[in-house]
Symmetry: C2
Subunit: 468 residues, 2 copies
């Protein structure tokens, strides 16, 4: 499998040429940038022109195997020849330099771009597509859609004088006291609406005003999920009961218009739950008249071994909304007609997404399908998971998770410091990985990550663990 | 002036070839799109490949002089040769297909891109640049920056246990009850934080939960501003007094961390005020310890005859933040070091802006400077304004405004229906313009709009007004 496409990229291997990592050039460029912009979150400075496929080359000439991929945002490799070809096309250039106000003046090929691309991957049971600029924008536009629909469902499509007047004062009933229910340790974005549903870390939230919206504890499952069946079922039942209770308690004071949930809580620590749990959520939200938003910003686009992570849940009725961004490069949400607002300009903005990102999504989808990369990712994921499980018996590695979730795999180190040391030591040995939650290491490789790359990753990890 | 650069574009002129406007192909494509996306705000469908300079070509082959420019978002013309060249460059292609998580893994040329571009236009007195994805994102990231800084100013950079805990519950003190003060009829964006400061129209706000943040009436000035000196001074004084009063009243219950203001309220109806008014705002915010955010998303990048509209105010101390997007293609805000958060990852997200849009901004800035387009826009604006003033004496056109504001010009029709009729009749005669507020027609041409184009616009307007 791998050989059919990997060979089209330049052949690289991990190689750290500097005495320490990041090297002096990275550090010096970061310092330069610090004069005009925040630099303290820089990991290293990149030479994107030299990066290729699974490999990222830094400003010092170090080459790293990249299993983090711009926070899970590169799908088919750096400088993929298919994307280079696209970028050189008249279609792409025209779209890049004549960015339209899509809601007012769409290009004549707009629907075709979507039909050949993003609409090919419309989640089962959905048919409409709202395009946006980024993951936070996608989630917030989805929240707006459910708020509007929830209002109309309960009060009809006409507006009262009082509503028209009060909304200009940011007051009820025009600006209703509705809420979005999210989970503890969830991450749904960083703007004011999305941040109000984000519950990952204090550093993400402190000092920023937030809506008084409810949250429910994520089920306190044990890993591996399949080995703790009874225990986890009880934990999930408890969480589901809390969801129902919270929705009911809020009905009179601050109605829950929608529940938002990640298939795997990513930023918050790679927290999993069973397909049964998500089916339960769908059942409860249906019964209680609450919309269900599945946030696939990080899980979507193949990384979990199915195109959408929620494909694996076998839902009887689809979620009301599925949001996406990151690997898709494009962003937005899928929905059905009932979530299209009653009037134009209600859920609107200047750009309404970006055609060049929709073109890239189209090209990536074609590439993913042609190379069977979703199945490939499932296979490679099984190999990595099994190897990590074997490793976890004799090392501080614990809570390996992501079985049957493609390469969306993670594990815990005993402490936060231990985790940070693993991440930095891996980088110093030429493998870029990421952290999440309190003490988790997360793998977010691209879909072209093969068994050969997995072997390098695992070998390096073994060495790093032996060293510390 | 014009001839040196207009000649580089294809030569077009307004030509409507369909019996009605929009034509049958536009209508049919809109109907197609309506199967999967909102279409009711479509004005017409565009063939961007055929559009050139100031002229937009639609899917039916109609050619329109475009004085609306994608809601004020095209600076130097459709298919500008300079932007085509850029799009073909390796630098652009590399940036387009390897989109980085800029806050973690910036490209080695990142600072240089900014120094050769956006930083050349850093507003006087500012030095730092936060990059973002869109206008709403720019404003919301700016709001986050002022909230964090306001908190730290009053409570120090350390966090209490109570803050760390309560912010995870979306509750004070961790999620503080701070506010942003905005003006009636303001428009600052469509996401949850920005929408809470937007007060333009009910359709933008109704059904969406909002923060209970204060607003103050925009000064009830009469136009032309310069002819009603005393009257307007009194109106502005009243508004300024209300600003001070509102800030003081909120000090104990919901402190105002920042005031946000557009130099010209655009979406809300092209509402102007004098430079004295803005100097007054700067004085009051300084005195009351409130940050001042100038929202130049629509006014920035030369359209008002200065690069930033607020350049004309001659402030003694600069605004704390200037936000931008639209014509810049890039988005974000300028600020000083005091508004950089105490810790990394506080004001952070995956993309942190988009390098290709920063490259386009760089290229446009070079083009604008080389062709002296800001001065050009000032001259063309004076010509348009004077002509419209002459026209207003004998026609229903009233409240012509935008004297010495470049081509950022508008006028009222007696009714909302009359305004809509002017806009649609102008389009049917091959000139694309926009509406705003209740009954205003707004001109938002590109910076390459010349006297020749202005002549066509004015001639067409004369005919339309004569007809109705």
């Amino acid at each position: 499998m791998k050989s059919t496409f990997i060979r089209r990229f330049a052949t690289l291997r991990p190689e750290i040429v500097t005495k320490s990592f990041p090297g002096p050039v990275s550090k010096s460029i970061s310092k330069d940038i610090s004069e005009i912009q925040e630099d303290r979150a820089h990991q290293f400075i990149v030479d994107y022109g030299k990066s290729s496929g699974n490999y990222i080359v830094d400003a010092d000439g170090n080459t790293l195997l990249d299993a983090f991929a711009q926070i899970a945002s590169i799908a088919i490799g750096y400088n993929n020849p298919a994307l280079i070809e696209l970028a050189k096309s008249e279609e792409f250039i025209t779209a890049a330099i004549n960015r339209p106000a899509l809601g007012n003046f769409p290009p004549s090929n707009w629907k075709q771009i979507l039909e050949d691309g993003l609409l090919k991957k419309t989640p089962k049971g959905l048919e409409q597509l709202f395009t946006a600029m980024c993951g936070s924008c996608a989630n917030e536009s989805a929240y707006k859609a459910v708020f509007m629909a929830y209002r109309d469902k309960h009060h009809g499509t006409g507006f009262s004088e009082e509503e028209l007047k009060s909304c200009m004062q940011n007051a009820a009933p025009g600006s209703p006291e509705y809420s979005i229910l999210s989970f503890e340790s969830a991450f749904h974005g960083r703007l004011f609406g999305s941040l109000s549903t984000t519950r990952s870390k204090a550093i993400h939230k402190i000092g920023v005003p937030a809506f008084d919206w409810p949250q429910v504890a994520w089920p306190a499952v044990k890993y591996p999920l399949e080995e703790y069946g009874d225990y986890n079922r009880a934990a999930e039942a408890k969480s589901l009961e809390l969801v129902r209770q919270t929705i009911r308690e809020h009905k009179t004071k601050k109605p829950v218009a929608a529940l938002v949930v990640e298939p795997i809580q990513s930023e918050g620590g790679d927290n999993h739950a069973s397909a049964d749990f998500f089916r339960g959520l769908r059942e409860i939200t249906k019964e209680e008249g609450v919309y269900m938003i599945v946030d696939e910003v990080q899980t979507g686009f193949g990384a979990t071994g199915s195109f959408w992570a929620h494909d694996k849940w076998n839902l009887e009725t689809p979620p009301d909304i599925v949001t996406f961004s990151k690997k898709a490069q494009a962003a937005g949400f899928y929905h059905n007609f009932d979530l299209r607002p009653s009037l134009p300009y209600r859920n609107f903005n200047t750009w309404m997404g970006d055609p060049i990102r929709a073109l890239q999504a189209r090209e990536m989808i074609k590439y993913i399908d042609n190379h069977n990369l979703v199945k490939h990712t499932e296979d490679v994921g099984e190999f990595i998971y099994t190897s990590l499980k074997n490793l976890s018996g004799n090392t501080p590695i614990e809570n390996v998770r992501g079985w049957k979730q493609g390469t969306f795999i993670s594990f815990d180190m005993p402490t936060s410091q231990g985790r940070d040391l693993v991440v930095s030591s891996m980088r110093a040995r030429g493998v870029n990985i990421g952290g999440c939650g309190e003490r988790a290491v997360r793998l977010r490789p691209m879909l072209i990550f093969g068994k050969e790359e997995a072997g390098i990753l695992l070998d390096t990890l073994r060495k790093v663990i032996a060293d510390i």
